[in-house]
């Protein structure tokens, strides 16, 4: 699974960091860092993070576009 966060939508609510701290990380109070390639054992957590995002900024897919790699 791969993930991309639309950082123009992200408001720093950090719900994804709570639910999948192995994939999403806060840099300072609001800046978001994340891994585009989701380890297999983190897939359930990342699905929860994507569903929970208050601004629906997290995209999931088996493959995202080349630009996101």
């Amino acid at each position: 699974m791969r993930t991309v966060v639309d950082l123009t939508r992200c408001q720093g609510y950090a719900q994804c960091v709570f639910l999948a701290p192995g994939v999403f990380e806060l840099h300072g109070e609001e800046g978001l860092l994340y891994a585009t390639a989701v380890p297999e054992d983190q897939e359930d957590r990342v699905r929860q993070a994507a569903a929970a995002c208050p601004v629906q900024a997290i995209l999931l897919g088996e493959e995202v576009s080349i630009g996101a790699r």
Binding site: V17, F18, L19, P21, L26, E29, Q48, A51, A52, Q56
Partner: protein
């Protein structure tokens, strides 16, 4: 005009099982609807969103002249809100403690399992008293460091505080307010005392973390600690119970959706979001304009009481297709189940994990479950709306 009595009709206890037709009437009456007592109701999605993000809209009761010495961050505006919420967040979530809530998953699953094992099979149970209430209570006690066996004590305080905070147009609130103040004093003393016992001997809980913070600039005062701990303990056990109970009720009323989730448990996270939209645990929040604020052609006057009906915004057809349909596959579900803006629910991630655990474990057993009565009896509270009991045959 009938629309002037909408808040009174919504808060009337007879509306508790199904307030949604009144919310539809509210949205029909316009984005901003003045009530006979001078308060205002807002029930449409886009106007609620704009007001939740408007820094002129205060949550502080002192903005409309109420007296209060100390308030929890839920009832404070920035910058004071930001300072206290950030301090309260340090031992709970990112950026300082990103693994706390995720690290509770196994323990939450264990508590869920133990509660379910004690239910037996083929028996009549009360989902609220036997499962949906004890689960979040046990979790929040563990998280804060509050003895589970003290539940009867803080349940009484919590009842009084939650009753005092409800929306009750036209009724005399002197007695409930007084009972709320008394409960707040006793509960604050109790929680600060618990925290003090851990000064210098920290265990792995949030009261310990608060009272053992080494940096004086990051330490809560005694009064701030009392307010914060009361808020977290109450919020942690008065709301998640509704989410779990509403979830079971909603699924048992819709065997097709229950069946879908049983076949596709990967949809559970989206189903929980849809529940937060469709049957949110918190139906309304109050705001007070610090200045005259224009919304969709109406002026909300400075100091007025403005009730944002979040549960109505969640059913606004201008924002959600077929809003009265429960659809776990709904795309773009930006609901107000946890509010929005700077006061977005502090404990939302914990509530989600509790709901995943509770509903995930219940799903296999709901196929043969039957509701004993529909609608079930509801709690008095209009703001924190949910069943008081949910009798089931499991």
């Amino acid at each position: 005009m009938a629309s002037e009595t909408l808040l009174a009709r919504i808060t009337d206890y007879s509306s508790r099982p199904d307030p949604y037709p009144l919310y539809a009437e509210l949205r029909e009456a316009g984005p901003v609807v003045r009530q006979a007592d001078g308060s205002y109701l807002v029930g449409t999605y886009h106007e609620i969103a704009a007001l939740l993000h408007d820094p002129r809209m205060s949550v502080d009761p002192r903005t409309r002249g109420a007296e209060a010495q100390q308030l929890p961050f839920l009832r404070l505006d920035d910058p004071e809100h930001h300072r206290l919420r950030t301090l309260a967040m340090r031992p709970f979530g990112p950026p300082h403690t990103p693994h706390r809530v995720d690290g509770m998953r196994e323990e939450i699953d264990r508590i869920t399992r133990e509660l379910l094992d004690s239910l037996g099979a083929g028996e009549r149970i009360d989902l609220v008293d036997d499962f949906a209430y004890p689960l979040p209570v046990t979790v929040i006690c563990r998280l804060l460091g509050v003895p589970r066996e003290d539940e009867p004590l803080f349940r009484a305080w919590s009842d009084a505080l939650v009753a005092a905070a409800d929306v009750r147009p036209g009724s005399d609130t002197t007695e409930t307010d007084k009972a709320g103040e008394q409960a707040k004093m006793e509960m604050g003393g109790y929680l600060v005392n618990l925290a003090e016992q851990r000064r210098g001997k920290p265990s792995d809980d949030m009261l310990s973390a608060f009272v053992n913070e080494p940096d004086p600039a990051l330490r809560l005062s005694r009064e701030e600690l009392a307010e914060t701990a009361i808020l977290l303990l109450i919020a942690g056990h008065e709301t998640t119970v509704n989410l779990i109970t509403n979830g079971v009720l909603t699924l048992l009323r819709r065997p097709d959706q229950l069946d879908l989730l049983r076949r596709r448990p990967d949809l559970l996270p989206r189903a929980v979001e849809e529940l937060l939209r469709f049957e949110p645990p918190v139906h309304m929040r109050e705001r007070i304009p610090r200045a005259d604020v224009d919304v969709a052609g109406t002026t909300l006057p400075e100091g007025a009481s403005v009730v944002l009906v979040l549960a109505s915004g969640n059913r606004d057809p201008k924002r959600f297709d077929e809003p009265d349909r429960f659809d776990p596959t709904r795309p773009d579900n930006q609901h107000f189940g946890f509010g929005s803006g700077i006061h977005l629910c502090y404990g939302g991630p914990l509530a989600r994990i509790e709901a995943y655990s509770a509903l995930g474990a219940l799903l296999p057993r709901l196929g043969t479950a039957r509701l004993v009565e529909d609608p079930p009896p509801y709690r008095q509270n209009a703001m924190l709306r949910g069943p008081r009991h949910l009798p089931l045959h499991l």
